[in-house]
């Protein structure tokens, strides 16, 4: 193996691509991390157990990966989808039947979304079981809970967009509960006393109407494609920043600095 590699490294083609060789030293390994805008999210050195899948289950990382996959496939879907009641369903049909790789992109988006909810649940479960929310990581747990809520909301708003029976009724069931919000819903305790009606309570604001209809589709679309991903990205930035500042992945001796 080494012989072949050495031979290869002598060839003109190789030399024209890689201008000098890479010496496997600790200095070079560190430079790989700090010189790369993406990798420098990481520290240069970490404790061995933090790379151990038996410890973290890799669930936070997989959640982030799925979020990236969802962003890319989601942008592609946006090329084919118009968030208006008269087009939305037809666009989905077109995507599933006539667009090259359309079904693959849509399936990847849907299954990655389901998978992300599962991995974020398991990530929280792992963080609890290793007690990693304890000092100094209390606040990062709180950021995490917000990310969990945002993940669920992203998934829920996306559920409506195909504009089929499954979509509108699942969202109808989900948003019906808002009628009963205490004080702010027209069927909630003290709602009527405060002047809440079906056409001015929180549910009305959420749906843009008295039932799930075209304005709801537009609201959920904007929330799903712009507002929620933006907020989620901001909180993820804070989440990752705090992991570093809190001393890296937790560990029995890892409560000091990285």
């Amino acid at each position: 193996m080494f012989k072949i590699r050495e031979k290869l490294q002598q060839t003109e083609v190789w030399k024209s691509i890689f201008r000098h060789n890479y010496q496997d030293t600790n200095r070079n390994r560190a430079l790989q991390i700090v010189d790369n805008v993406f990798l420098h999210l990481h520290p240069v050195r970490i404790s061995r157990h933090a790379t151990n899948l038996g410890f973290t289950w890799g669930m936070g990382g997989i959640t982030f990966l799925l979020f990236i996959v969802l962003t890319i496939t989601g942008v592609i879907l946006m090329f084919y989808y118009r968030p208006a009641a008269e087009y939305a369903y037809e666009d989905m049909k077109y995507l599933m039947n006539d667009v090259a790789f359309g079904p693959l992109i849509r399936n990847m988006h849907r299954w990655a979304a389901h998978a992300m909810v599962i991995t974020v649940m398991l990530h929280m479960f792992r963080v609890f079981l290793t007690g990693s929310y304890k000092a100094p990581r209390q606040f990062n747990w709180v950021v995490g809970v917000l990310l969990l809520v945002l993940t669920l909301l992203l998934s829920f708003t996306g559920y409506l967009l195909p504009w089929d029976q499954l979509a509108i009724w699942a969202v109808t069931v989900g948003t019906n509960m808002a009628r009963a919000t205490p004080l702010l819903g027209h069927e909630g305790p003290f709602g009527q006393q405060l002047g809440m009606r079906i056409d001015n309570d929180v549910r009305f604001v959420l749906l843009g109407g008295t039932q799930v209809g075209p304005p709801t589709l537009l609201r959920f679309y904007v929330g799903h494609c712009i507002f929620l991903p933006l907020i989620a990205t901001i909180f993820m930035v804070v989440h990752f920043w705090r992991i570093r500042k809190d001393g890296g992945i937790s560990g029995p001796a890892g409560n000091g600095k990285e």
Binding site: T130, D164, Q165, P182
Partner: protein, 295 residues
Amino acid sequence: MRNLWVLISKPDNIPIVGLLFLVILYTWYSLSKALKNDRQGFLDESTLSEKIQVWPNLVRVEFLGTLFVMVVLVFWSFLIDAPLEEPANPTLTPNPSKAPWYFLGLQEMLVYFDPWIAGVVLPTFIILGLMAIPYIDINEKGNGYYTFKERSWSILIFCFGFIVLWVSLIVLGTFWRGPGWYFFFPWEPWDTHRVVALTNIDLSEFFGVHTRSADYSLNPAAFIFGAVLVLGYYSLIPLYWILKKDKSGLLKKLGPIRYNVTAFLFLTMMSLPIKMVLRIGFNIKYVWVTPWFNI
């Protein structure tokens, strides 16, 4: 049996089968790691605490993990199509209409509580309660490794909330709930015309006190009965404090604010299983009926 297969192989239900499998696997795996750590007197994690270079050690794991996840996802997406049903029709309600699977726990709670509790108040407390965990758990041990012995209570309470009240209610809502939100065995065919004559009663009526008089006005005795029970339930919090304050080191360490928050969240969480037992076991609808809201 055909119905079981129909349910499991529905494209949107496959992730739930996966979730159930993973939760069982990880619960077993992490508890066995925890018990091993407790038993052997040293921590497995401590044997792995030397510092290593991120490049290539972590980057390699991330790369292989990414590859694995992408292969699974692409295969999954080639094999199974995302569902696309009939176009939206606001006049045609499917039976049952189910919320997306991660909200089925909330939909199940609607059986036991009025929507303002099940749909608004409890979810709010779930989110706030999760956020409060790091601040109310003052046990410093068990930070950054698997253990059961050193924090058994917090693990038991969290697992009860996560596994019993979330994951298993998702599974219940997906596989056991059919038309009319009635209970069906997963292998039982769904009978869309099933009507169960339910004679739900209020808790006071269980003891012979009628909630309403013949003219439908509220019976003050029933109102007071419910008030005593509900307020009595929450007054366990100060009562326990007064009784145990001087004897219990834990209460002293918690202090009054943390104690009250913890106890309130705990009792609120336990109100769900209590209401489930009352409802399923005894057909009890409300514990407390008032002119403004019912609990």
